[in-house]
Structures are given as structure tokens and as C-alpha cells.
């Protein structure tokens, strides 16, 4: 089911700037028992993204009402929210009054095998290098050609994720996930000041690092850093946490930290009181 600006509808006008220019943002949210998981955080990121792109963000009450209609009967699903700058304007120039388009769509929860979480995945390094663009770095915007081209690099179903380096040969993220390594009780995730998407699960894990007696750091990581890590894992709002057990011919142990954080994430999700009041 899809809701566009409050109406059940599967289509948008071709003049929408989301289509013409990728002029918008999105959120991908796990739906559990009719509730959007970590909605507060997704909402805050969406709001912050809209501010950075100068798109007026729809009021949370409006979004929440529409989301509720869409997901109330969904046991487990994926909710995608797109917010675009709407139609109008002259070429790249935006209209004087921006009327953002909101698209809410519900998708089946992907059927990833449980072993990805429990035993880890195989990953690869992509050949594509992420462009460097501080202005858009961190944002979950709709300009995603790089990710599309990177995901096209491999068809082998035994490989679940590709890691992306930037033009400076820094490892930044997976095609659809954030990356962490653990090294001598330090939890490191790449700096996202020049490219990459600042994920919600990444944020949660960085905040929670202390309770696992880990020092959290955001810094540049090289290919070699990944290969020599004590543990490595990728995260996103749908997969949760997948340990990397193998990359570039190298086995990486699926160690105790990843497993502990993964279990904690599950529990945190269950207990979490973060769902905004509109969904209580």
C-alpha cells in the first residue's frame, strides 16, 4: 500500500522534483506489531535532513496519522517515507512556495536467513569509489546512483554486502549499511563528514558503546584496518546487525562483542520507549 500526500495512490506526478532531480530525502523504518521502530530517531533525522536541504518538513502529527493508517495491521514490515521538494520552480530553481510531497509505502519484511545475524556474512570491497561531498554527507537523500552502481558490481548470492571506499581510499560504509570494527576494545566507525549515510542503528550503537566497555570513535578507516579488525559488522534499521565473517579472502572472527551488541539491540528495540507519543 502507498499513501501520497494523504491519499491512497501508487503514483506521483512526473514533475515532482523527487523524480526530476532526486530532490528529497527518505527513511526506511522497521515496522513491528503495527509500530514504527525507533520512530523518534527516524523523525529527528528526517527533520534535520529537511533543514539541511531547506525542505519544509511536514508536521509530525500529520505524518504519524498517515503512518498509523498504513501500518496498524502490519505485524512485521518495512515502512519507507519519502519527502520531496514537490513540484514547481524553474529548472533547478525551486518555487517560491514549496509544497513538499510525502510518500509513505509499506513493503514486505525481507526474508534474510537468521544465520546472517547469528553466524555472520561474507562481504566484499566494491570497486566504485564514493564521491566526496561534504554538503550532502550523512544525509539519507534520494541521489543514490552510487549505491545502485556499487550494488551492481556483484551477483554472487553468497556475498551479502559490499563495502565502499571513497576517493581518498577511506572505507565509508556498506552499500546499504553502516560499518563498525572492534580493535583492542575500541569500537570504530568511519567518519561521515565527506560522504555516507548517518544511520539510526549506527547512532544507537555509538551512544551505547560505554555499556559494553568499549570506547567509541569515529575516524578514518583503511581497507587494512578492516582486514586486521578483531571484529567487524554492518548495521541498518532493517537487518539490525550482521557480523562480517569473511572479506577479501580473509576470515574475521564473529566475536563476543558483535553478538553482545546484537542481542542488546534486540532487547532495546523491544523495551524501547522511544516511539513517539503519537504511536503510544
Amino acid at each position: 500500500m502507498v499513501i501520497v500526500n494523504g491519499e491512497k495512490c501508487r503514483s506521483i506526478d512526473v514533475s515532482d522534483r523527487g523524480f526530476q532531480y532526486g530532490d528529497g530525502l527518505f527513511e526506511t523504518i522497521e515496522v513491528n506489531n503495527g509500530k514504527p521502530v525507533f520512530f523518534d530517531r527516524h523523525w529527528r533525522r528526517l527533520q534535520a535532513g529537511c533543514e539541511r536541504l531547506f525542505i519544509p518538513c511536514p508536521p509530525v502529527q500529520l505524518l504519524a496519522r498517515e503512518i498509523h493508517t498504513l501500518i496498524e495491521d502490519a505485524a512485521r514490515a518495512v515502512l519507507k517515507i519519502n519527502i520531496t521538494r514537490g513540484s514547481g520552480g524553474r529548472g533547478y530553481g525551486q518555487p517560491e512556495m514549496v509544497h513538499p510531497t510525502r510518500v509513505l509505502s509499506l513493503h514486505p519484511f525481507p526474508d534474510y536467513p537468521d544465520t546472517y545475524r547469528s553466524q555472520g556474512i561474507k562481504a566484499r570491497f566494491c570497486q566504485l569509489r564514493l564521491g566526496v561531498n561534504p554538503l550532502l554527507a550523512g544525509l539519507k537523500h534520494m541521489n543514490r546512483l552510487e549505491q545502485v552502481l556499487a550494488r551492481r558490481e556483484w551477483q554472487d548470492p553468497a556475498i551479502q554486502e559490499g563495502l565502499l571506499l571513497d576517493l581518498h581510499e577511506h572505507v565509508i560504509e556498506g552499500t546499504m549499511s553502516n560499518l563498525f570494527i572492534i580493535r583492542d576494545a575500541v569500537l570504530v566507525t568511519p567518519l561521515l563528514d565527506s560522504s555516507g549515510v548517518a544511520g539510526i542503528i549506527r547512532e544507537i550503537i555509538l551512544e551505547a558503546a560505554e555499556q559494553f566497555n568499549l570506547t567509541a570513535r569515529q575516524q578514518h578507516l583503511s581497507r587494512q584496518d578492516i582486514l586486521e579488525a578483531d571484529e567487524a559488522f554492518v548495521t541498518n534499521s532493517i537487518i539490525g546487525l550482521w557480523p562480517i565473517k569473511h572479506i577479501a579472502g580473509r576470515d574475521i572472527p564473529v566475536g563476543p562483542h558483535a553478538q553482545k551488541i546484537s542481542r542488546w539491540l534486540d532487547a532495546y528495540k523491544q523495551q524501547c520507549d522511544e516511539t513517539t507519543a503519537v504511536f503510544r
Copy 2:
């Protein structure tokens, strides 16, 4: 009027990857007396872009037929062609069989004053720095957030174009145009190996430089190079050629070369036999 995959229709499915990821390409073409100007060149660029993005390009006969329906009665208009990777696939992963979406739309020809062509325009340097991404450089792809944000930097209607620098402080292009300068009988346009769109008029002028006794070069240009140019101008398929008469507090002469090239372009367009056979 809009034609989507051969049908008169103003909307596309929200699942279209053009909307979801900006996963596509476009062409903006001048329509004159019911004919798409420089269609052969636009078509070749579209085809080359599709190859670089691994999107199967629709056959030219099909496109031409649909374009003909759309523009046959148009005296003067703008034709926009969008080709996307269509719907389907899992996240960024494309479907096994790609069925591209083609969107043809007709727009009124913009009412720019004649003085822009004859007497020149005022331009500015944008603050936004273009990201560096060799993989996408030159392509007229649908990931255009940078141009949207750059165009947002000024509202002053006296300024007609903003010039964009990249992260290395090289001047690359205008928000909607390519850039040329003339210096000691050398015609220079920025190298587009790391960012920028390789425009059709740019290509035509580079090819024609010799007949104006100009040596054509593609090379890095600095802000200072623009300010010290004998002449400077911007080009695109709709505006043709606009001399830059003023930028960053500096007057630049609207010199004989720009005027000569501009007149030649008009004549070349009239005579041009380049329109593909399907439109003859």
C-alpha cells in the same frame, strides 16, 4: 503534455527507480518548428549515458515516434526526455530484467530577454562546491541535488547564472550551463573528468573552434582565470550562448568571439542537417 512509456499520462509509479534513487538520465532539447534540435547529438549522449549506467536504452525509432506525437504541433518549446531503470529490484539491487521507463514531456520555451544573448548576463560564483565523482562525471543523470542547492543561493533576478567550483577550487560549469573563456585566442572550457555535465552546445562549440581561429582546450580553470578572461560565456541547449558581462564585481567585455560564435550557432541550428532521419 507528457507521454510515459508511450501513453499519455502525467504520473509514474512511486516504485520507479528514477523517483526512489534518481536512477536515470535526462536530455533537455530545444524544439523548433516541430523538430527536436540537434536530436542526433542528444540521442548519442543519451545512449552513451545509458551504457555507462547499464540501463538498456530504448530504440531510437520508438523514442522518435513518441517524440513526434508530442512535438509535431509545437513551434517552439522544450522537450525533456527522462530514461530511468524502471521499477523492481531489491533495494539498490536492480531487477534481473530491467524495463526502463521513458518519460517525454513538453514545456513552454522560457521567456529569457534577448538582451541576455546580445548584451550578456551577470553571473556569480556559488558557495556550494561540487562533489568529485569521476564515475558520474559528464553524465546528465538525475542526481541533481547539488544543482538545486546551488541555484537556491541567490534570489536576485539581476543575476542569471551561478558558476560552480569543485572541491579542488576548479571552476567546472554553471548551475544549468557549461562555461567557456577566451584568452589570447585560446578557447578554454573546464575539464569534466571529475564532475559536471558534458553539454551538447559545449561539444558543438569545441568542434567548431577552428573555424573561428581559436585553439580549443579542456583544462582546469580557476576563479582568477575567469576574472582575467578576455571573454567568458555560458551555453546550453535552450539558452544557446550567453556572454558573461559581469561577475564578482568585475566587468568582462562582451567581445567579438562570443558574438561571432553565437551568430554561427543560430545559423548552424537552422541549416543543421543533424536531425536524425526519423524526423526528416
